[in-house]
Symmetry: C2
Subunit: 193 residues, 2 copies
């Protein structure tokens, strides 16, 4: 097991309905040393790509994107949910359905910050059905930018998001791929590398 799989086994909580709670270290309370390590690991996996921007979606992707972006020395961008009066009209939009919150959000990225010259690394904390990721890919491609890679902390391997993204030819790296989990025994089984 790698460092993240070990941490999930130790501190993750399995709830009924295929919910994996990692809120003590990844998406409510955050362990900053672990975030640093996640950033370094994604850098190791994608350092041969000419990344110019790291893109994520609010909220829990932000810390991971920052951790990765500082390793590459490039800016990070987070796609925002819904419309704020502080966002100009000129933006890329995508419709995203949340597995966790059971709702739909429009997510937006200002056209100022993505151009056809950009080589984008997309990152997020979770990948389940892949809706958030598809939104970020669609925004990147609407800008004429290149998706150089996708880095996910925790992929739910038993949902279809990861497979469909890989089938489309994207270079997707997930640090921990959960094959199955059991709320009764609190066990999490990971995909072998």
């Amino acid at each position: 097991m790698n460092f993240l799989e070990e941490r999930i086994s130790k501190d993750g909580l399995v709830k009924e309905g295929n919910v994996l709670k990692v809120d003590s270290f990844l998406n409510h309370q955050m362990d900053v040393a672990l975030l640093d390590q996640i950033g370094e690991e994604f850098y190791r996996r994608f350092k041969d790509k000419p990344i110019t921007k790291v893109l994520t979606i609010e909220a829990s992707g932000i810390a991971i994107a920052y951790a990765v972006a500082r390793c590459f020395g490039v800016p990070m961008i987070f796609a925002k949910k819904a419309k704020s009066i502080n966002i100009d009209g000129d933006m890329y939009t995508a419709e995203v359905e949340s597995f966790t919150h059971k709702n739909k959000n429009k997510v937006i990225v200002s056209k100022k910050f993505l151009s056809s010259d950009d080589r984008v690394l997309i990152v997020d904390d979770f990948l389940a059905n892949g809706c958030a990721l598809q939104g970020l890919i669609s925004i990147t491609e609407a800008a004429g930018a290149t998706v150089e890679g996708i880095g996910i902390a925790i992929e739910k391997g038993f949902q279809f998001g990861g497979r469909s993204i890989r089938n489309l030819g994207y270079h997707l790296e997930s640090l921990a791929i959960v094959e199955s989990m059991d709320a009764a025994t609190q066990t999490v089984r990971f995909r072998e590398p």
Copy 2:
């Protein structure tokens, strides 16, 4: 002018209605080197306090909280907006009104992550009317924890939030306090130290 005031003068945009857009470097696209510098500066200002947790609110506070928490070597927590099926029933809540989005949100922090032993540094990107900050203070105090300090990147000094927080006796440090701004001339005037 300090490093953040200089950056605001250079890259901030003043819009009608007292809106200061810093979305090219602080709250949409993020300059990671600037975030690192913000973290180090808050550490310098609060390093004599026995901080055990850094607390912020999603979304744009997250990167700043991470930057600060890694300097202190403590976990960060972000208060979440609205209710997610991934949040247990046991949580501290506060009602927060957003100046930017003109709406109200319930924000929540799980009781697991704040206790009466905690010495909390609260951070956020903006302080205007102070509603978000009051929510974070109220959550910290509901946990019986101590607010050791409050660090804000940009305070709108012409709104009442900062004054009321200081009047209550909290140690509030804002890196840039905007006294006035003018959309016609694109000038921002900062409070002298």
